[in-house]
Amino acid sequence: MSILIHEKSNVIVQGITGRDGSFHADQMIQYGTNVVGGVTPGKGGQSILGVPIFDSVEEAVVQKKADVSLIFVPSAFASDAIIEAADAGIQLIVCITEGVPVNQMLKVQAYLASKPNVRLIGPNCPGLISPGKCKVGILPGHIFKQGNVGVVSRSGTLTYEIVYSLTSAGFGESTCIGIGGDPIVGTDFIDTLSMFNEDPQTESIVLIGEIGGDAEEKAATYIRQNIKKKVVAFIAGVTAPPEKRMGHAGAIISQGMGTAEGKVKAFHEAGVQVASIPSQVADLLT
């Protein structure tokens, strides 16, 4: 097993005819993901990369039994694309798009509250991968190896860095999820930790956090109370100055809240080992 995606996931790409959409759809197909189609309004009936294009998500769901959608549309249209996917019955929506206004995401979240069967990952995330089975996102497939470590992260390249060092040290991943760097994201650490806890393939968990918000503090409390598996954490931003947005919209220390120190302390109190630098993660996992 792995979590959320697997060999039988029927994946569509919203915005498949765009530059990034088509590139990563191609990468996903090459990785072996079961991409069953794409959506671009006005281009229904055409095809790309050997898969059909639909005018709406609903058509893709009806005709191709799509259950996972990857969103690549521009930021002005991303929240509407999420809503379309949710209304059409897509169960896992992965939104790569960066730059979605946070108040639009608040409304999307409020809307999804009455659709308990729909899970959103992102926005502003690299997606997720269950190595050897399915990749939905922009993660570089070749650095992953099937294995028993569940990885969850707010970051993109930092995740690749740590996964690479895990692989070098002989570890592999059950599933690796980038939950996104925005202040408001669909799936958080706790959701993911809970799924990893239930997943028989996952034996240990790596959590990659960063400054801003209190998602890590809450995750620490949750781990202490619920997680039976070994967890190793890394928090980026020990050297970040306050009140500055460190690239990610969510990575900001504001009014003394959201510091790396506070997060590290929370993990230590929860009995979770925290790596000082990325390369230490593999050491602590051993």
Binding site: S75, A76, G99, V100, P101, V102, N103, L106, K107, Q109, A110, I138, L139, P140, I143, S153, R154, S155, G156, T157, L158, T159, Y160, E161, Y164, G181, P183, I184, I208, E210, I211, G213, D214, A215, K218, F234, A236, G237, V238, T239, A240, P241, K244, R245, M246, G247, H248, A249, G250, A251, Q255, G256, A260, S276, I277, P278, S279
Partner: protein, 382 residues
Amino acid sequence: MKLLEYQAKEVFRSADIRTPNESMVTTPQDAVKIANESVGYPCVIKAQVPVGGRGKAGGVKVANNADDVLTLASQILGMSIKGCIVDKILVSQAISIHNEYYLSVVLHRASKKPMIIMSPSGGVDIEEISKNRPEMIFKEEYDFILGFKDYTLRRTYQKMFQNQEEKVSYKEFKGFLQKLVNVYFEKDATLVEINPLIVHNKECMALDAKILLDDNGLEFHPEFEKYVTSNAEETLQEKMAREANLTYISLDGNIACMVNGAGLAMATMDTIKHFGGSPANFLDIGGSSNPEKVVNALRIIASNPNVNAILINIFGGITRCDDIAQGFREGLEKVKFDLPISCRIIGTNDEKARTILKEINIPVTTDMDEAVQNVVKMAKGG
């Protein structure tokens, strides 16, 4: 992005939120003219700067007549507050105050809703209230379907105005909060703050105003374009980066770094510190492989006189390492500097990249820790 007080108040007035009679001016002469012709006396001269603490720094003064205005406006204009030179002042009607309230609408990450934060003990920073009088801070969630819930808001209303000489009706209070929330959504804000709020003639009035805008929402608000450059408290390097569309933040150290990805960039800074060095900046060149970005990035980090050494840390995924190396070669031709460079490149097309870098004599490693340890040594003159 942060709006200055006078800009935030323009937004307020267009949303039917009352403010004192006032105007922004840039010269002492205009200040006198405005005070004489429309604002009247006494009036308040307020420095317009994007940093807090202007009151303590002498940037807010009361004037009782035209002479006062001329003197005080001349004093405040040109003043430096936390490194910001005052080039705009607000001439504002002075209003008698019974009590100062605090009121804000802020993005609440935990509840995924806007939160309204209120206190009858305003006029000082909210951090100060929450430290000294936490029992005087009241919070209300804003629900997307229902708006305010009367059963909680009525209780908060009573706590806000009990024992107050002058108060507003519950209906007026709720309507005022709704206007503030409307500004929050319509302008894609993440914070709308009034401190102090006062009650004047049984109506709420904003004596000060602070609005933080969501940078992701700016593209939908052309009305704020004119403010984007004028409000930034930024270093030369940050300005260059903004113009080149790069995310750069100045730091105190002497090791410049150029990284792809925000998380990895932060982790690189942390690793520099871990090995005893001190980063000079945060710089994310992003996921694209455009060589021009690399040239610009090099120009920016090299322009910082504090820098002793440069660290390149690239984990190629979507980013193609050879494009980075190519940009680097171009950059070294175009940008003149004499600084040691430590380079770590790994991932997509890294072999090609290493070949290019070898041609221009840049040593390359695939190990991040090794590259960081090298640059720390370099920065120490080692």
